[in-house]
């Protein structure tokens, strides 16, 4: 009996609405947390593993030395590399393809790379319109690397003290 009376008081006293309005009232004055993607973006950890890219040294020379460790470590077999001796006698790739359908963004390739050539960028919103578009070749990867070099090197810099 007493339970019933308590419930009637609670219901007619609008206690739940008051509790809800209390939160609404609080949030009215707080900073908003909704992000207007893609105009606005959330912060990203320097360790974020997004779209892959190939980097260059500051003098413009490609970093990759075709050691194929990334190809060997890749759990999804997403990387295909062909190598040769370039005219100056250095070991270089002639083909470096990544199949983004296969890639699972585990970052093992970046961990394996002895020269920091293959890296995960902070790009995660991208699309391709054809099926073949999922395969990015060496040129495409270098282009991504060139375009985002600043962000990439900044992220490595920030993370370096934890390594």
């Amino acid at each position: 009996m007493i339970k019933k009376i308590k419930k009637i008081i609670k219901d007619f006293g609008l206690s739940e609405i008051r509790a809800g309005m209390k939160i609404t009232g609080k949030q009215l004055t707080n900073d908003k947390i909704t992000v207007q993607f893609p105009e606005e973006r959330t912060p990203i950890s320097p360790r974020f593993r997004g779209l892959l890219a190939l980097r260059r040294y500051p003098n413009g020379e490609e970093r990759c030395i075709a050691c194929k460790l990334c190809e060997a470590v890749c759990p999804a077999n997403a990387i295909t590399i062909e190598s040769e001796m370039r005219d100056d006698g250095t070991r270089r790739t002639t083909q470096y393809d990544i199949d983004l359908f296969k890639c699972i963004y585990c970052g093992f390739c970046e961990e394996a790379c002895p020269v920091d050539a293959i890296v995960g960028t902070h790009i995660f919103d991208y699309a391709f319109e054809t099926r073949e578009g999922s395969i990015i070749d060496k040129e495409g990867l270098m282009e991504i690397g060139d375009k985002h070099e600043k962000a990439i090197s900044k992220a490595r810099q920030e993370d370096s003290k934890y390594r």
């Binding site: 050691c67 194929k68 020269v115």
Partner: protein, 748 residues
């Protein structure tokens, strides 16, 4: 038999022989001791110190490779003391070793890398500058990165002990110690590629293979090298259906752990631009690409039309073809009612009697105490057979030669007789007479008029004084018009001196051809096929301007209007295009399954390592389909092993005829035309790196002063297209041509 002793390694009681090194006992027991300088086939140097083990009662750890076992020894390979010593050695070795594993071709198969994973430290304590060593080029086959060298001296010991030419050596001391070639010309040995295999680090790697694929990407397939009489056991390492590298496979009774450079680097020929990839037919003088069915129809129709009788049909096959191919080809030819078939194309006197058999095994060759080498530069022609003889010489055997030229063997020749081809019969008769005189046997009639001189007596003495002599007959006899008499005399000499014989005159897979009787019983032999009025031919992997002894005549003969020539080739060749009517592309080495029978009569079967290039098909399949199209019986094979089984069940009977020895008329000057080992078959001729070596580039017609005067030749003139070199190492009355260029001779 030596006495067995018991020692204890890591608490395990194991058996060994007194005087056996600890490391070899441990290896047999599967107990792992790290090592760099120790190699089971080389002498013990004990200079890397990696195999230090703790022996109870010994104050300091001892190297397991140079410490000999004695009864009751207690050895610990991985206790605290041994491990500390090994780790310390590892740290020293890594002081100067560069950390360039990612770009090193040895990466992934490197002994140093493997051992460093277990014994190396994570962090280097070495802060001083690292040593850098300049690379001197050492030829087209081996790439050097001497900064990576850890001075194990395996390559130096290999050169001195196995190859027999000391080409690499250690110069300088301490920090300045370098392993480098003594001469700027680079490495010349015909076994040099083995240095790549023995090098435990990436200092010596394969040059043609440089930066191509990583070791872990390749499949290793067991197969057999087909270039010589030995049939060395090899692995072909393939990636994406291409042979990327060939390495040796251990087989103590055949090639031990070594292979010749020819076997190692010939695979490059497979990827040559000159491969025939599509069937082609010639219609009204124009070559057209065709489908397989059209080309096969064209071929069968041509054979039917041009060889209405079997006797108008002839077949020639390469001595490097597989047993299966040779068997089916002879079945095909005989099925058509023809007995015109042969594989002895470079022989100017293809005789039928089996005169000289090989009756010594490769391992037995090591135990001989005298070898008489007749008409052969064994070192280049049969490197692995030569290696066994060299091993025998290291144990005290002596070697004498009867050759047209004084060759540069890698062991000492005690008696060297220079004899031109036309005098070979006389010289061998002299040796035989001296031998028979010595044992006061009755002389056969033909020896009565033979005069003997001191050299004959010396050789006869060496042979008769030896307990286990061997007589080797080599390839240079093939061009000799009296080759049957030479073979008979060699057999007679062997009989008179109770010597074993080794017939190395027909190389490649010639033993298979003999097994399936790929030569005429009553029909025409190679020379007759190429000079009589046959109207239909099958040429199997033959390139007449290289392979046929009378190449010019052969090509002219095959170019006749009424001749229909079916060619099964794996490589394009302009002279073949000029006379062929249809070209059927066949699979080359490593692309087909097959069987090789070696000099010991060991049949070794192998499977294909890669798919055949382009649209080419394995030879046995092409022959089978041709036979089916011509409704021949007995070709119901679905697998090459069925063919091999049937072929190996054959035991052909040979007519053992005594060849009469006569003093036949011979020309005043005879030519010995010998290809360099890197021009001996079509695959190796297309192997670009081998062609760049000193041996591959060799092309000279050696002639002595007197003969040069007779032929009006002077230094640098061209003798049949080959530059003349006048020197006195050649027998009088003889031009010795050693070249990689095709024959331009009508008759030699």
């Amino acid at each position: 038999m030596m006495v067995d002793i018991e020692i204890e390694i890591d608490g395990k009681v194991v058996h060994g022989y007194p005087g056996e090194s600890l490391i070899s006992i441990a290896d047999r027991q599967g107990i792992d001791i790290p090592r760099f300088c120790y190699h089971k086939k080389l002498s013990v140097a004990a200079n890397c110190r990696m195999c230090l083990v703790d022996i109870e009662g010994n104050p300091t750890p001892q190297p397991a490779c140079s410490t000999l076992s004695s009864a009751g020894m207690k050895v610990h390979t991985n206790n605290e003391k041994a491990k500390t010593a090994q780790k310390a050695v590892m740290e020293f070795l890594l002081i100067n070793h560069p950390l360039d594993c990612p770009i090193c071709d040895q990466g992934g198969e490197c002994e140093l890398q493997d051992v460093a994973m277990e014994y190396g430290s994570d962090i280097s304590r070495f802060t001083e500058g690292k040593r850098i060593v300049d690379d001197k080029g050492i030829g087209a086959l081996i790439q050097t990165d001497m900064t990576r060298c850890i001075h194990c001296t395996r390559c130096v010991r290999f050169g001195a002990e196995v190859a027999g030419i000391v080409e690499m050596g250690a110069t300088g001391r301490g920090e300045d110690l370098k392993i480098e070639p003594f001469l700027s010309e680079g490495i010349q040995s015909e076994l040099s590629g083995n240095m790549i295999d023995v090098c435990p680090v990436g200092a010596l790697t394969s040059k043609p293979f440089r930066y191509e694929v990583r070791s872990w990407q390749m499949n290793s397939i067991q197969t057999i090298a087909r270039h010589d009489l030995v049939g060395s056991n090899i692995f072909t390492q393939t990636h994406k259906n291409k042979v990327k590298r060939v390495v040796a496979r251990d087989n103590e009774s055949i090639n031990e752990t070594w292979i010749s450079d020819r076997d190692r680097f010939s695979y490059q020929g497979l990827n040559s631009e000159n491969r025939v990839l599509i069937p082609k037919i010639k219609v009204k003088g124009e070559w057209k690409d065709a489908s397989w069915s059209d080309a096969l129809d064209f071929a069968t129709n041509g054979i039917k039309k041009n060889a209405k009788e079997g006797s108008q049909f002839g077949t020639l096959a390469s001595k490097n073809a597989t047993l299966e191919e040779l068997f089916l080809l002879q079945k095909f030819t005989r099925g058509l009612g023809s007995d015109n078939l042969d594989y002895r194309l470079d022989t100017s006197n293809p005789f039928n009697a089996k005169v000289l058999e090989s009756n010594i095994s490769l391992t037995e060759l090591e135990t001989i105490d005298h070898a008489l080498i007749v008409n052969s530069y064994l070192r280049l022609e049969q490197p692995m057979i030569n290696h066994r003889i060299r091993k025998a010489t290291l144990n005290g055997a002596s070697v004498s030669t009867i050759n047209a030229k004084a060759f540069n063997f890698n062991y000492r020749i005690s008696q060297s007789v220079l004899t031109s081809p036309q005098n070979t019969v006389a010289t061998l008769s002299g040796v035989l007479k001296a031998l028979l005189d010595k044992s006061s046997q009755t002389l056969p009639g033909y020896l009565n008029s033979v005069t003997i001189d001191q050299t004959h007596i010396d050789i006869a003495n060496a042979l008769s004084n030896a307990k286990h002599p061997v007589v080797v007959l080599g390839e240079h006899v093939n061009g000799n018009k009296c080759s049957d008499q030479v073979a008979q005399l060699v057999a007679n000499i062997a009989k008179a001196s109770e010597a074993k014989t080794l017939n190395a005159s027909l190389t490649g897979n010639a033993h298979s051809a003999e097994r399936v009787n790929f030569k005429p019983d009553n029909g025409k032999n190679a020379l007759q096929i190429l000079s009589s009025d046959l109207t239909a031919f099958i040429l199997f992997d033959i390139y007449p301007n290289f392979d046929c002894i009378e190449s010019k005549n052969a090509i002219e003969h095959l170019s006749r209007d009424d001749a229909f020539v079916v060619v099964m080739n794996s490589f394009d060749d302009e002279s073949v295009l000029s006379f062929a009517n249809v070209i059927l592309p066949i699979a080359s080495f490593y692309e087909t399954s097959g069987t090789h029978i070696n000099v010991d009569n060991i049949a070794q079967s192998y499977s294909a390592s890669v798919k055949s290039a382009g649209e080419s098909k394995p030879g046995w399949k092409v022959i089978k389909v041709l036979a089916d199209l011509l409704n021949l019986e007995g070709f119901d094979f679905t697998d090459s092993s069925q063919i091999a089984d049937e072929a190996l069940s054959l035991s052909p009977s040979f007519s053992e005829i005594e060849v009469p020895i006569s003093n036949s008329e011979m020309p005043n000057v005879a030519t010995v035309w010998q290809y360099t080992p890197y021009a001996s078959d079509v695959v190796v001729r297309h192997a670009s790196s081998l062609q760049q070596t000193r041996i591959g580039q060799m092309s000279e017609a050696s002639v002595c002063k007197a003969t040069a005067k007779l032929l009006k030749l002077s230094e640098g003139d061209l003798y049949n297209g080959i530059p003349v070199n006048i020197n006195e190492s050649v027998a009088e009355g003889c031009v010795f041509v050693h070249t990689h260029l095709p024959r331009q001779l009508g008759v030699i």
